[in-house]
Amino acid sequence: MSQPAKDRIQKTVTDNDIVLYMKGTPTFPQCGFSSTVVQIFDYLGSEYASVNVLDDPEIRQGIKDFNNWPTVPQIFVKGEFIGGCDIVREMFETGELKTLLANKGIALTA
């Protein structure tokens, strides 16, 4: 992957507690999987940054190489990749996601 793409991703996930790399925006997700993760984080009431990979071909490819993960969405918490839609949904359903966020000191309203 190109160094600039890698540097940009690294900076984004370092600067923000929660980052969703997704297709579309939280208001207008353009894929069902991306929509699911938006709903989960909205439900938990945590603030997050989002990056629309459809706006940026370099990031769209870069994010796949960054984690050796071929699909979008991808979710980062405090710089750590925690998974894609299926993993985040599973963690949400078991309560692990809430625990993880709490342990990382992230404020939730739900």
Binding site: F33, W69, P70, T71, G83, G84, D86, I87
Partner: protein
């Protein structure tokens, strides 16, 4: 761009010998699947590592030829 269910199952089983693979065609269009995979290879691995093993089994088709494959992985 779509993949046949049998091809997906075969690729996963080739890479994860002895795995049980249940594949659901979610939309009936041959392009949106859910796979439930049970394998002893997953034992002791994180969910991320388990999913990466499945993606690896699909040899680059995931995210390309195969658009949507929801994954549920279980240890055997």
């Amino acid at each position: 761009m779509a993949m046949h269910a049998n091809d997906i199952i075969e690729m996963i089983k080739d890479a994860l010998p002895g795995a049980d693979v249940v594949l659901e065609d979610l939309a009936g269009d041959g392009d949106h699947y859910k796979a439930i995979i049970t394998s002893s290879v997953f034992a002791g691995k994180s969910r991320i590592a388990q999913h990466q093993l499945v993606y690896g089994a699909l040899k680059g088709k995931m995210g390309g030829e195969l658009h949507a494959l929801a994954l549920e992985t279980k240890e055997k």
